[in-house]
Structures are given as structure tokens and as C-alpha cells.
């Protein structure tokens, strides 16, 4: 049996394991014991989730749509058709009439090439990916306050913290190996505070649980800061030396007395004060947050408010402190890092900055567009309006993952031409004119960057199935045929180019990644990498307090739609389920969707546990079985979004944060009926 060490394809924890290969097939998994995060452990997806690699449903040849059906095609045919159509559309409607969806599932090298393809080959900044849907608000919010939009500290520090404040993260389910560190911290006596509208597993094991209303995060955090300042628990020295804007913060939070905060959040006053005391009294306090904070129309406000809290108490810029946004997908951090975003090149270098643009123009030998491109949801809107005519989607499934699917479907159908590159014929791929077969992580080389900024190797273990090709190879071939030559012999060579153009990745090369990677910023070949950010001074110099007032979510419950729907995931499935739902063990745990309802609400509705409920929003309706629980607030219901047949995103609204343009997946109004 051949064994190949690689990085898990399922979440931002970035565990490493060996793939056991026999007769060209992945048949076994061995967690790496010496890896700093896995330490010989994995979650069920890591142990068990890789059956999809050899699924008979894998795409093994390009497909071209004829009428309503696909026929198999050669690569030449598929490429020629794309080249013709893209050229026609560009000539007729201009460069910005095409957009590219990159993928947090794919490697850094592929994402880098995809944004280069959009910018240098197609001449548009219309490139985005699903980070828009999960942490766009983090990138903006933490860049504003600290100067860098990434997890400030490292995963292993969590086990050494004295206080961990978890808000809007179901850590043990969604980031299991980070949950492992929280549990270790509890074992060692750390105090854990959990704030979540759902009583998660950690909410049951923590010292203090705050069940706040969905979307009331700013009010909760402002209330805590009010209490901290009222009791003089702020870190005056840190504020004076390391930050600016404290007065304006003080002014804003002065309004949020525990009483007011409690009225908005429905968390009892004493608990708000207690949380404030616990968090501020330790010098080893960590904030962990995830999509409960980011996926709101106030996502950026929420993120900045967590950063304010950390600065107020001096809990940032040191070991065992910090603000730790947990990135969901395996490479969503990396896809952002290497510039699969409409406003920045790799390393968050703004496309609007002439000097930086010139640097890329020189390296890529081409003139680049100066104005930022469209974000993901804007792309779909433009498609419907008719200004966007073609799209190239790599490894994403917006027909399940994006808000308001009925709208997504209309938008994609309105396009003149759609190319989808994937490993399965997903709900999105079925709408395509041309489908290109990419490969799984086991069939290619590359790197993923984990949530703790750790750039790690992905290693090829088996040959691509059938006629499929590594995604990076497809991009280079298509680009070359479109007239912009891309010649790379290997992903290592692509990384060398990334390093040359990207200061935070400046010291990265494959030879240096052999022993479990490097944490960026790593600016030079002799730099050891950076376990925690903002030591001594913030990336932006002084930390900037950025106070925000509480704003209500965009869609509030009403007489006709009395419940708040909040969406999310379960620990056994990954995203739109195209991979994990092909695995018997994962599928056996959660074969389909369900709606979680407070038992008292369920009783009032007259729908019993296990019975079918119809859930209806202003945008659509779905039917699924009801799960009656005591672990969710009254008036709130939860639906996991993995399941196309009961797609939560038929219900959600594409209400966006005004700056980050992230949709509010965590709040929309619905009504429930007996199904």
C-alpha cells in the first residue's frame, strides 16, 4: 500500500492524514500523529468522508449541452466552444460581461490562476468565491480594526487560554479539532462563555451560556463593553499605547446599559455583566466566532465589535488571546489570500492602487482593469439584469449554497453561456452549457491554507479519473487557447509566482512546506512564519476602535411570517453535500434535511416530532421533517442547508451587508404549517 500525506479537504482546521492507496484507489486513512493540529485525531469527515473520490457518479469527460441533454465531448471540442462563446460575448458586450466563480474547495494555486485568468486573460475583476458567503465581513471588519482580516492567533493557543468567549460558532461540530482544543482548555479549568441562539454542545459544557436572539450580537457585545467600562475593567495601558478611537467607542457603548442590551438580546442583565467580568478579568482571553457573527446584514459591524471588545481589554497581540474567526471550508482562507476576490490581487493588494496594479501588469505582461469587479450576489443580479452574459464557475454549487435559490436559478438561466467545472454533475452544473471535469484533492498537487493561516501541502495520491484533469491544468489550457498563455509545469511553479508577487506569502516555497507548512505572514525565505499577529503593533499601526450601533436584521418576523429562520450546517456533511452525501456513514447519520423547532412552538403548531412541516418564506417553500428540541430559542427555527431536496436557501433572502456584501443567512422570516 502506498501512503501519501495530505491535508484534509473538509474544513479550515487543516488536519493532515495519509491516504492509503491500493491499485490506484484510496482505501484507507491514517491520521498524522506528529501534525500540530491533528495530533493523531480527526473528525468523522476526515476519517470517513472520502468515498466520493471513487463514486461512479464522478464526471470523467467534458460535457456539452445539446437541447436539454448533455453529450460527452472531447477536451478540444469543449475548449473550442468556450473560446468561441467567450470571444463573441466579450466583443459584443465588453470584458465585464463575463464573471468567474472561484472555489474555496480548490488549491491556492488554482485560485491564484483563476483570478489571474479573470484579470489578465478576460480583462475583468469579476472574480469572487464563496468567502463572500461566509467571511467577507471578517475580511473587511478585521482589516478595518486591526489591518489584517484573518484569525489573529493559532489553534493550539486555544488549549492554553484561561477564558474562551465563543459567539456564533458551533465549534465542536463545525471545527471539530478546534473544538478539541476548547475541550482541552475546559479540562484544564478554563472558563468558556458561549453566546448562541442555539444551545450547542459547548453551550451545555461551558461555564456561562447566553442564548441571544439571532442578529442581536452588536447589542450583546456593546452591553458587555458598557459593563466593562462601568466597572473600570478596561486595559487602560493597552488602549493608550496600542489603539485609537477609544472615546468614540466609549460614547457609543454608553448607551448600551445591561438593561438595554438585555431588552434587545433577551439575555438576562446579570449574565451580560458576568460575561463582561469573566472575559475582561483574564489576560488570556480568546474570542472565537464564526458564521453566527458574519452572516448578517450587520456582519461587518458584528466583526468590528468583537475586535473592539478584544482591544478594550488588551486581549490581542499576545499569545493565548486574540480574535479568532473560524474559516469554514478547507481553503477559504487561501482563496482569499491569493486574490479570488473582486477588489484585491493576491495578498489583499488593492486593484485600485496604481502602484500595485503596475506591479502585477509588469509581472503578467498585460494591462489590468483598475476598478473592482462584482461580488458574488451582485454577479447573479447582473446576470438577471442582462449586463452579465457569461459565467465560469469552478467547484461551487450556488444552486444550493446561495441565498434565494429561485432567484439564483433565474439568474443562471438568464446567462447566454455558462461553464461549470466540477467533479460531479451538481444542481448548478446541470444548468451549464459546458461542463468540465475537474479532480478531487487526491488527484492533484497544491496547497490549502487553514484557518490559522497555515499553508500546507496537498499531495497527489492517485491519477485523475477517466479524462478528468487537475483544475489548475484546465485553467492554464483554457487561458492559453483564449490567447493569454499560461505555462506552468507544476503547482510548485505557480506557488513560486505567488511568492514573488505576494508579500505575506513571500517566503513560501514547496520545499519549505514539507514539515506541516508555514503560517503567514512569511515575507522572506528565512522567515519562520507567524503564529500570532499584531505583536507589538497592529498591522495597520494602531488598532482602531470602530464602534457600531445595533441595527435590526433586514427581515424581521411579522404576523404572516412569525418565526426567525437561521441556517447552518451539521457536523456530518460538507456544504452542499455533493461529496459527503455519497458516503454511507455520513449519509446514514443525516440522510436529509430537517427543521429544528422549539418544543413549545412545535406543540402550538400542532406538529409532532418527525412529522412533515412546510416552511414558507416570502421567496419559497420547502417541506421537511420537524425535529422538536429544547435547545433553540422560542420563535427561532433552524435548517441545515446541505440538502438540495429540502434546500434551506429556497427560503433565505439575499439581503446584503452594505460593505462586505455578505447575505444574511442567519435571519429571515418564515411561517410553519403542517406538511
Amino acid at each position: 500500500m502506498k501512503r501519501v500525506l495530505t491535508t484534509c479537504e473538509f474544513c479550515g482546521c487543516g488536519c493532515n492524514f495519509y491516504l492509503g492507496v491500493e491499485d490506484g484507489k484510496v482505501v484507507a486513512i491514517y491520521p498524522s500523529v506528529s501534525h500540530p493540529i491533528s495530533q493523531g485525531r480527526l473528525c468523522i469527515k476526515g476519517w470517513q468522508g472520502h468515498e466520493y473520490i471513487h463514486s461512479p457518479e464522478r464526471l470523467t469527460t467534458p460535457l456539452i449541452k445539446k437541447g436539454n441533454r448533455f453529450r460527452e465531448a472531447s477536451w478540444d471540442e469543449a475548449y473550442e466552444l468556450i473560446v468561441d462563446k467567450f470571444n463573441q460575448i466579450r466583443t459584443r458586450y465588453g470584458n465585464d460581461s463575463i464573471a468567474v466563480f472561484s472555489s474555496a474547495k480548490c488549491t491556492n494555486e488554482e485560485n491564484y490562476l483563476m483570478q489571474k485568468f479573470a484579470r489578465a486573460c478576460l480583462g475583468t475583476n469579476n472574480v469572487d468565491h464563496c468567502a463572500r458567503l461566509c467571511h467577507a465581513s471578517t475580511v473587511v471588519g478585521l482589516a478595518t480594526t486591526f489591518g489584517s482580516g484573518a484569525m489573529t492567533n493559532s489553534i493550539n493557543e486555544i488549549a492554553g487560554a484561561e477564558v474562551i468567549f465563543i459567539i456564533g460558532s458551533n465549534t465542536t461540530e463545525q471545527h471539530p479539532l478546534i473544538g478539541d482544543r476548547v475541550l482541552r482548555a475546559i479540562e484544564k479549568g478554563a472558563k468558556v462563555i458561549v453566546a448562541d441562539p442555539r444551545e450547542t454542545q459547548l453551550a451545555k459544557l461551558c461555564s456561562l451560556y447566553l442564548m441571544h436572539k439571532p442578529g442581536s450580537d452588536v447589542a450583546l457585545l456593546n452591553g458587555m463593553m458598557n459593563a466593562i467600562i462601568a466597572e473600570g475593567l478596561e486595559d487602560k495601558e493597552f488602549i493608550a499605547e496600542r489603539t485609537e478611537g477609544f472615546e468614540s467607542l466609549k460614547e457609543t457603548v454608553a448607551d448600551y446599559t445591561p438593561e438595554k442590551s438585555s431588552a434587545i438580546t433577551s439575555v438576562p442583565e446579570e449574565k451580560i455583566v458576568e460575561a463582561a467580568r469573566i472575559y475582561s478579568r483574564s489576560k488570556k482571553s480568546i474570542i472565537i466566532y464564526s458564521m453566527g457573527i458574519t452572516q448578517h446584514t450587520t456582519g461587518v459591524d458584528n466583526v468590528m465589535t468583537t475586535a473592539n471588545l478584544a482591544m478594550l481589554t488588551g486581549n490581542v497581540g499576545k499569545e493565548f488571546t486574540g480574535v479568532d474567526p473560524l474559516r469554514g471550508q478547507n481553503n477559504v482562507q487561501g482563496a482569499c489570500d491569493v486574490g479570488a476576490l473582486p477588489n484585491v490581487f493576491s495578498g489583499y493588494q488593492a486593484v485600485t492602487d496604481e502602484k500595485l496594479r503596475n506591479k502585477f501588469e509588469k509581472a503578467w505582461k498585460v494591462t489590468l482593469p483598475p476598478q473592482p469587479g462584482l461580488t458574488l450576489v451582485e454577479m447573479l443580479n447582473s446576470a438577471l439584469e442582462g449586463s452579465l452574459r457569461a459565467m465560469y464557475i469552478m467547484g461551487e454549487n450556488p444552486m444550493v449554497s446561495d441565498p434565494d435559490i429561485n432567484h439564483v436559478e433565474k439568474s443562471l438561466k438568464a446567462l447566454d453561456f455558462l461553464v461549470v467545472q466540477d467533479i460531479f454533475l451538481t444542481e448548478t452544473a446541470t444548468l451549464a452549457d459546458v461542463v468540465l471535469p475537474g479532480v478531487s484533492f487526491a488527484e492533484k498537487d497544491g496547497t490549502f491554507t487553514s484557518t490559522e493561516r497555515r499553508i500546507q501541502r496537498v499531495r497527489k495520491a492517485i491519477e485523475p479519473l477517466g479524462d478528468s484533469k487537475p483544475d489548475w491544468k484546465i485553467i492554464t489550457e483554457l487561458s492559453s487557447r483564449l490567447g493569454y498563455r499560461m505555462d506552468y509545469s507544476s503547482p510548485a511553479e505557480i506557488m513560486d509566482e505567488i511568492a514573488k508577487l505576494t508579500p505575506i506569502y513571500g517566503g513560501v516555497s514547496y520545499s519549505r512546506l514539507e514539515s506541516f507548512g508555514l503560517q503567514w505572514p512569511c515575507p522572506s525565505p528565512d522567515h519562520p512564519g507567524t503564529p500570532y499577529l499584531h505583536k507589538g503593533s497592529f498591522t495597520r499601526g494602531l488598532g482602531k476602535f470602530s464602534p457600531a450601533d445595533y441595527k435590526t436584521p433586514a427581515e424581521l418576523p411579522s404576523h404572516d411570517y412569525p418565526f426567525v429562520l437561521t441556517t447552518g450546517r451539521v457536523g456530518f456533511h460538507y456544504h452542499t453535500g455533493t461529496m459527503t452525501r455519497k458516503d454511507w456513514a455520513l449519509e446514514r447519520e443525516y440522510p436529509t434535511g430537517y427543521v429544528e423547532v422549539n418544543s413549545q412552538d412545535a406543540k402550538q403548531l400542532g406538529i409532532k416530532n418527525g412529522q412533515t412541516a412546510k416552511v414558507i418564506s416570502r421567496r419559497g417553500e420547502i417541506s421537511l421533517s420537524l425535529k422538536s428540541v429544547d435547545t433553540i430559542a422560542k420563535g427561532v427555527v433552524f435548517i441545515p442547508f446541505h440538502f438540495a431536496e429540502a434546500a434551506a436557501n429556497k427560503l433565505t433572502a439575499a439581503n446584503l451587508d452594505p460593505v462586505a456584501k455578505i447575505p444574511e443567512y442567519k435571519v429571515c422570516a418564515v411561517r410553519l404549517e403542517k406538511g
Binding site: M1, R3, L5, Y18, G20, V27, A28, I29, Y30, P31, S32, V33, S34, G40, R41, L42, C43, I44, G46, W47, Q48, P56, T172, E173, P176, L177, G179, D180, L183, R184, E187, Q201, K204, L205, S515, G571, F572, W584, A585, R588, E589
Partner: protein, 335 residues
């Protein structure tokens, strides 16, 4: 008893390679894993155990059982693996694990797939001169030095291995390369005895097996089950790494006109497992945790003449992202 100088280990194993597939613990970076013999990576001085036991050479994570054609289903091809195999470097706990699996799969009911692999496999053990933090084989009585279930047993005496013969098959292996071995003296054997006593003093994890056996039946309503299960993140790891866990699931994978029947390791800690195996409603996690421990310390001994279904290897402790520790649970049960 024989002596094999350390420098002769690789020649010996490579010699075996002429006739057998040889598996041994290998260094992959800093990890130790069983693999196909590669003398440049051979691990002889590792402490403790590879994360997965050699169980998978007899009972793989994923095994094709047979293939049948869908056109009527008459053509069936069974995939019995009869590779002649020698595994070197098996820890005493894992030797016991294989002995236990043999009882399960080769006694009342004989599993042909397991039998094909196992009956062609020769086991060469390697005693432990030092315990890892999680090891508690000394409490179960399966280690740190093995007494049974090996064809040959190696003890690291410093520059040489003392080699004990446990079966005819083992003896034959030595005879074929007799020039590599010398006879052991009573001094060597005495030294091994001293090493065993020393090794026993390195254990940090203990249970009182007698007390556990006496009290476990009455412990079913202990709060320990719910307390510990509350942390479980349902990774299945405690099952995947356990050398005695033998539950599997069967799936048919169809591609074109061919269907393969594949068997996979399964995990009793998962909700779906209990739903399939026992009842229609999902048991609570506390019940599943209790089931796992009861299976090893109560049901198995009842069924297999007192043989405990736990080797004391401690792997389930190391692998658990929730810090659920079987030794701690057993200590609670005993008190």
C-alpha cells in the same frame, strides 16, 4: 531462544521478503505507521504503538468482498486475499488484539475473507521496553511483554534482539536463515526479565481489572456515562483505531453492469449504527458509550470464555478529540 544482532534485522526481513509480503512499522516523517517493508524507514526504536494496529492486514478499513455482474447476477467473483504475509514489530497489545479477532471471526462463525488473510499471515511480535502515557496493557495483562499469540517474539536487548519462538511457522522462518541467528544464553533471558520489570514501572495509566469485572454489571446507571458522552463529537475514532473492534457495514457499489460488495469498518458510537443494528429509535450517546465499554468488559468476556475485549493499548484515549478516556471511566466504574 535465539539472538539476532540488530544489524541483521534488515537482512532477515529482506530475506523473508523473497517469500512473503513483509509489513513492519515505518517512519513516515515523524509518524510511525505499519507499511510495506522499506528498510530505509524501518522503525525499531519507537515507543508505544502506531496509531492503527496491524488489524487491517486481516480486516481492512475497506475491503472488496466480491463482484457480481448485474445481468442476472450469476457471475460472482470472490476477492479472497491469500497473500503470504509476515508482519514484524507487532506490540503485545496488538498480538492479543489479533488473538481476540481470531476468536470472533474464526470460531463459531468462520468469515472466509478474514480467514483467507489471517491464515496466510505470520506474526512477529516486539516487546515494549517502555510504555506510552496512554498504555495500560499491564493492567489488562496483555503486555508490556507478550506471553502468547506470536510466531516469533522479539525483545530489544540493546545491540541485539532476543527472539522467542512461538510456533512451528516461526521456527521455520529462523531455520531458513539460520546463519543470521545465534543461540541465546540464560544471561540474555535474565536480561529480558529485568527489562520487563523495568518496563512495567514506566506505566502511567492503570485500572484495577478485578474490581472492574466485579462492578461493571452494576454500573449501568452510573452518571459517568452521560457526563463523558456529553463531550463526544461522534468522530468514530475510538472504534476506527481499536484493535478489537470488529463491527462492519456492507455496501454495494454499482458501476456500469458490475456491482461490488464492499465492507467497511463501522462505528458503534454513531447514531446511525444503533439505528441499524439494534433498535429503531436512536440510543442516546450515553447509552452508546456504555455499550462500547460494556461490549469490551462485560459482553465479550461472557461470550468468549472470560477473554476481555480490550487490549489496554490506549489508542482510543489518544485518538479522542473529546478527551474521553476509557481508563478514567473504568476507574470510576471500579469505585
Amino acid at each position: 531462544m535465539k539472538i539476532l544482532s540488530k544489524s541483521n534485522l534488515v537482512p532477515f526481513l529482506e530475506g523473508l521478503g523473497l517469500e512473503f509480503k513483509v509489513n513492519a512499522p515505518l517512519y513516515e516523517g515523524q509518524d510511525v505507521l505499519f507499511g510495506d517493508l522499506d528498510s530505509s524507514k524501518l522503525a525499531t526504536d519507537f515507543i508505544g504503538k502506531p496509531r492503527l494496529s496491524p488489524k487491517e492486514y486481516s480486516f481492512p478499513q475497506r475491503e472488496r468482498l466480491f463482484t457480481f455482474k448485474n445481468n442476472g447476477g450469476v457471475e460472482i467473483e470472490a476477492h479472497l486475499n491469500e497473500t503470504k504475509r509476515v508482519i514484524w514489530g507487532i506490540r503485545p497489545c496488538d498480538l492479543y488484539g489479533l488473538k481476540f479477532l481470531d476468536m470472533v471471526y474464526l470460531s463459531d462463525y468462520v468469515d472466509p475473507y478474514y480467514q483467507a488473510r489471517r491464515s496466510n499471515t505470520i506474526l512477529l511480535g516486539l516487546n515494549c521496553n517502555k510504555a506510552e502515557e496512554s498504555c495500560f496493557c499491564s493492567s489488562i495483562g496483555t503486555g508490556p511483554f507478550a506471553r502468547e499469540a506470536f510466531d516469533l517474539l522479539f525483545t530489544d536487548l540493546g545491540d541485539v534482539f532476543l527472539v522467542e519462538i512461538g510456533s512451528k511457522a516461526g521456527k521455520k522462518l529462523i531455520e531458513k536463515q539460520a546463519n543470521l541467528f545465534t543461540n541465546a544464553t540464560s544471561k540474555d533471558e535474565k536480561q529480558a526479565g529485568i527489562l520487563e520489570e523495568k518496563s512495567k514501572k514506566t506505566f502511567k495509566t492503570y485500572i484495577d481489572l478485578g474490581k472492574v469485572e466485579a462492578k461493571i454489571a452494576g454500573a449501568s446507571s452510573s452518571p459517568v456515562w452521560a457526563e463523558e458522552a456529553a463531550k463526544c463529537i461522534l468522530c468514530g475514532g475510538c472504534n476506527w483505531v481499536c484493535p478489537t473492534c470488529y463491527c462492519f457495514n456492507i455496501e454495494d457499489v454499482t458501476s456500469g453492469d458490475k456491482t461490488q460488495r464492499v465492507r467497511y469498518w463501522d462505528s458503534c458510537q454513531l447514531g446511525g449504527f444503533t439505528q441499524m443494528a439494534a433498535m429503531n429509535s436512536r440510543a442516546t450517546q450515553a447509552e452508546r458509550l456504555r455499550q462500547r465499554i460494556y461490549h469490551k468488559f462485560s459482553y465479550n468476556p461472557d461470550k468468549y470464555g472470560g477473554e476481555i475485549g480490550c487490549t489496554g493499548c490506549g489508542r482510543c484515549i489518544d485518538v479522542c478529540p473529546a478527551g474521553i478516556n476509557i481508563a478514567y471511566i473504568l476507574r470510576r466504574v471500579a469505585n
